[in-house]
Amino acid sequence: MRPFVYERAEEARSAVAAVADRPDAMYLGGGTNLVDLMRLGVAEPARLVDVSRLPYDTVGVRPDGALRIGAAVRNSDLAAHPAVRRAHPLLAQALLAGASGQVRNMATVGGNLLQRTRCAYFQDITKPCNKRNPGSGCPAREGDHRNLAIIGHSEACVATHPSDMAVALAALDAVVHLEGRDGPRTLPLTELYRLPGDDPRRDTVLDPADLITEVTVPALSFGGRSHYRKVRDRASFAFAVVSVAAALDVAGGVVRDCRIAFGAIAPVPWRARRAEEALRGAPATEDAFAAAARAELGQARPLRDNAFKVPLARNLLVRTLTELVVA
């Protein structure tokens, strides 16, 4: 590990100032991903600005169920929050599906959103990777990609985004609040992430000095009828093979409204707007759910060894929506 300077930020402006003029400085949240990457030599910051103790460690709740979540709130605290469990069960379920109890106790909301892909090539500095070392190539395309992307990927990069929480937040139209070089601003969570195209280096549209301070989640009248389901290779402590976050509003056997996002199929938390579009006004039946899945997954371009993710994502969406109708 390369030696680095550690400093703890006292407030957001000084944190931004500490990072703004130093290309080799990074923010540190819970450290559950960044510290691993530093040990592996993937991340080599010369300066860590610890933002985990900034005063963004509370969850505010409006009467209608809208949330204002501090970026330093720990994943386990957010998962256990009564308002989250009541009004947005899919968010609590997504959080609890991630990592282990120990990791969730450390991980922050802001850090969770900005964690890096777990693609094996990205994490091994002895091998090429366009995300880590632009222009070096993507061995995953011909190598091991069983659990990489089927949609939204590019010639340059087939990595997936690993977060569970971000999938639920993508479905919930969450908004990310930032403190940056030019002061505060906001960004819909679905616009935070960018597809790799021919420049996979950056996972997000953020400037390195942009600091996530809060995430707001608007009220969703049918948020209580929602679910996050994660398929994985073992019963716990594994990244998703495919996951889905869904909320459903059904009246008289017809879908009035819905929110759907997939995880582990794309370089970003994948908001399934085509599926949502197909479902609004459709009968709440398995056939209609399957048609919605097809509308979304028709864009999929699976790789040699991950074509199974297409029927898996379809089945998972149909199952999750069907159970929400019954629930």
Binding site: M1, G41, T126, V231, R234, A235, V241, F308, P311, L312
Partner: protein, 694 residues
């Protein structure tokens, strides 16, 4: 042979070092600090899979403050001959696999050593590599023997003609991937040279063997090397032979004149400590319509490295399992540019029985015979190949006992028909077996002035409870309470003992302990009980004179699985094992061994797979986030039982080894249950949802 009367043996005696372990005072290898000036060595691994090291530029590393030295072929001391060429560290420029050690960096702190290791510039002459095992590999050859010393092939009768004529045949190919030993404690060594001798604190499965190896490499008499390993956090075979880390520590200590610590990172272990070879197995069974076997043919195709031959004895269990007049077993090896495979819990039996016991399930279906009944119908009276009598064999009793406890009687054999909500449910059975080995060892027993006893033997307690079992065995042999007996193990200065391997520890060491204790009692008798007295035993003659018999443990594994109809996720809801293993010395620690083995078998069935990165030639998924073993949530309910088995032709305890049989057959039971649940037969492990989602 008379089996010793027991009082302590057979009881749930608590682990004698339990308090030390749970309070953190039990010291493991890396925690020893022989002096204040201990420094750290970090291995540097090859990033090519085949070729030569042209040069190592150490300048960038050595300028870092705190760096003491960098060693590689260009400057390393020459070592003596190594039985295992993997240990001839920095003696050649050749690179035989990706991840092989090409250099080591020594520094005042671990962090400095790691950073310096990254700054080392290694220049290679790379050659094309060949890392993919296939049955038709042009270099596939017949090894002269298989591990440890079994015939490579066996043949009886005319298996080809018998297959031709059989009423029912199955001809099936199974594959198991590379699987990696991952004991909780990584391999670690602290080495220091003292008075022209070498002392190492080392995590291993046998300090006598490590001593002898280091003595040979460094040109020392064996008594100038001392290997100390009081506590070891698991091994599974990966610590059965010394690994490059222990040599690096001793070499670095020699070069620097300091005490040196070395440990493997989890990632490094995937290349440097052995692993289970990937194996392709073809099983052909020919039977009468009622399932009576006429022919068994089992062929295994495996890989080894170009450094050293390791030939897994994959088809050896097939030589003793079932009666059939016509039979053949074979092993073929392809030397590839890969790390050297080695022992991993039940090498041979574990993968071999996955194939054989899956094939028996497929034959049962083909014949329309219940799979338990099929096995009972083919039970041999004597060892089917050697013709020797079994010292004891209770496979049928285990199957029947297991069937009763598991609730097998009402099982509908039809696959794919039982639904519980959105899950398909199925059950499966498989047999297990493991040889009952015993090896020569020495021990001493001493009657102390305070009325207690001290028993000394260079045995290894790798978390199995060996120290505790030997305490119970010694207490009974001395006709005293176990609290009066202190057993010292884990030090090469103690009487030489065999490895903790092949599930042979308790049988081998226990024999030596019993003989030493008996000799001590005779001494005490002769001198009217006057203390102190000491007696020694060496079991070489006794072990070599043992009657020729077929000695094996047997068992029956039952599994129940649920398979999600939408996602294909397989979760095991129940495992139940019944074993015939002679006398169980300590039911509490034995149960723990069986449960551990069965859990590891569950992981083999559903999760474990070293993914070969064909382009670069290493195992890609070399950490626990990517290489999955079961989490607690995957292991809901494991039941373990054993049948009463009295066998007085094994050893004075009447015991068979139990460390490995728990993993044998588990994967086949799970795969058979997956078939019963879904109708899908998965012959390639691990069974992941990819194959079951549709």
């Amino acid at each position: 042979m008379t089996v010793t009367p027991t009082r302590a043996v057979g009881t749930d005696f608590d682990r004698v070092e339990a308090a030390e372990k749970v309070t953190g005072t039990a010291r493991y290898a890396y925690e020893h600090a022989p002096d204040r000036d201990t420094v750290y060595a970090v291995p540097v691994q090859s990033v090519i899979a085949r070729g030569e090291v042209v040069n190592v530029d150490t300048d960038g590393a050595l300028t870092l403050p705190g760096v003491i030295a960098a060693v590689w072929h260009g400057n390393a001391p020459r070592l003596g001959p190594a039985d295992d060429p993997e240990l001839a560290l920095f003696q050649s420029r050749r690179v035989a696999y990706r991840g092989q050690l090409v250099a080591g960096v020594i520094a005042e702190t671990l962090e400095t050593a790691r950073e310096a290791a990254r700054r080392l510039r290694v220049e290679y002459a790379q050659e094309p590599h060949d890392v993919v095992l296939r049955v038709d590999h042009p270099k596939m050859y017949k090894p002269s023997k298989v591990n440890p010393a079994y015939p490579t092939d066996t043949e009886y009768g005319d298996p080809d003609a018998a297959l031709e004529k059989a009423a029912v045949t199955v001809d099936l190919t199974y594959s198991t991937p590379a699987e990696h030993n991952n004991p909780m404690e990584p391999h670690a060594t602290v080495a220091v040279w003292e008075n022209d001798g070498l002392v190492v604190y080392d995590s291993n499965q046998g300090s006598s063997a490590v001593r002898d190896t280091l003595a040979g490499l460094f040109g020392l008499p064996p008594d100038a090397v001392r290997v100390i390993a009081p506590h070891v956090g698991g091994g599974f075979g990966s610590k059965g032979t010394p690994r490059p880390g222990v040599v690096l520590a001793a070499l670095a200590a020699k070069v620097t004149g300091r005490a040196v610590k070395v440990t493997m990172t989890r990632q490094q272990m995937f290349a440097l400590v052995g692993y289970r070879t990937p194996i392709i197995q073809r099983v052909r069974l020919g039977a009468d319509e009622d399932g009576t076997l006429r022919a068994i043919v089992h062929d295994a195709f495996e890989q080894t490295s170009t450094v050293q031959e390791f030939a897994e004895q994959t088809t050896t269990p097939t030589r003793i399992m079932y009666a059939a007049p016509n039979r053949r077993t074979t092993h073929r090896l392809a030397p590839l540019d890969v790390p050297t495979p080695s022992w991993m819990r039940a090498p041979g039996e574990c993968p071999g029985m996955f194939a054989l016991e899956s094939a028996m399930d497929e034959l049962a279906i083909a014949c329309g015979v219940d799979p338990i009944e099929l096995r009972i119908r083919n039970e041999p009276e004597t060892d089917p190949e050697s013709g020797l009598p079994f010292s004891s064999r209770n496979l049928v009793a285990c199957l029947r006992e297991g069937a009763a406890r598991f609730g097998w009687a009402d099982r509908d054999p039809a696959p794919g028909v039982r639904r519980e909500g959105r899950r398909l449910v199925g059950t499966g059975v498989a047999a297990a077996t493991y040889p009952a080995y015993r090896l020569p060892s020495r021990a001493t027993a001493r009657a102390e002035p305070d009325g207690g006893f001290t028993v000394r033997i260079a045995a290894a307690d790798i978390g199995t409870g060996a120290r505790t079992a030997l305490t119970q065995i010694a207490a009974d042999a001395l006709r005293t309470a176990p609290e009066r007996v202190r057993v010292e193990v884990g030090d090469s200065a103690l009487p030489t003992a065999s490895l903790a391997g092949g599930s042979s520890g308790t049988a081998s060491w226990g024999t030596a302990v019993v003989r030493a204790c008996e000799a001590l009692l005779r001494e005490l008798d002769r001198y009217g009980g006057r203390r102190p007295q000491e007696a020694a035993a060496d079991t070489t003659a006794e072990v070599e004179a043992a009657e020729r018999l077929s000695r094996h443990a047997f068992g029956a594994q039952f599994a129940e699985v649920g398979v999600d109809v939408d996602t294909g996720e397989v979760r095991v809801s129940r495992l139940l094992g019944v074993f015939g293993v002679g006398r169980v010395i300590n039911p509490k620690t034995a149960r723990s061994q069986f449960i551990g083995g069965m859990t590891m078998g569950l992981g083999m069935a559903l999760m474990e797979e070293g993914v070969m990165d064909v382009e670069f030639g290493d195992y890609l998924n070399h950490d626990f986030a990517q290489y999955h073993i079961p989490a607690c949530a995957d292991v809901p309910d494991i039941e373990v039982h054993w049948v009463d088995e009295v066998d007085d032709r094994l050893n004075p305890m009447g015991s068979k080894g139990i460390g490995e049989i728990g993993i044998v057959g588990t994967a086949a039971a799970v795969a058979n249950a997956v078939h019963h649940a879904t109708g899908v037969r998965v012959r390639d492990l691990p069974i992941r949802l990819d194959r079951l989602v549709g």
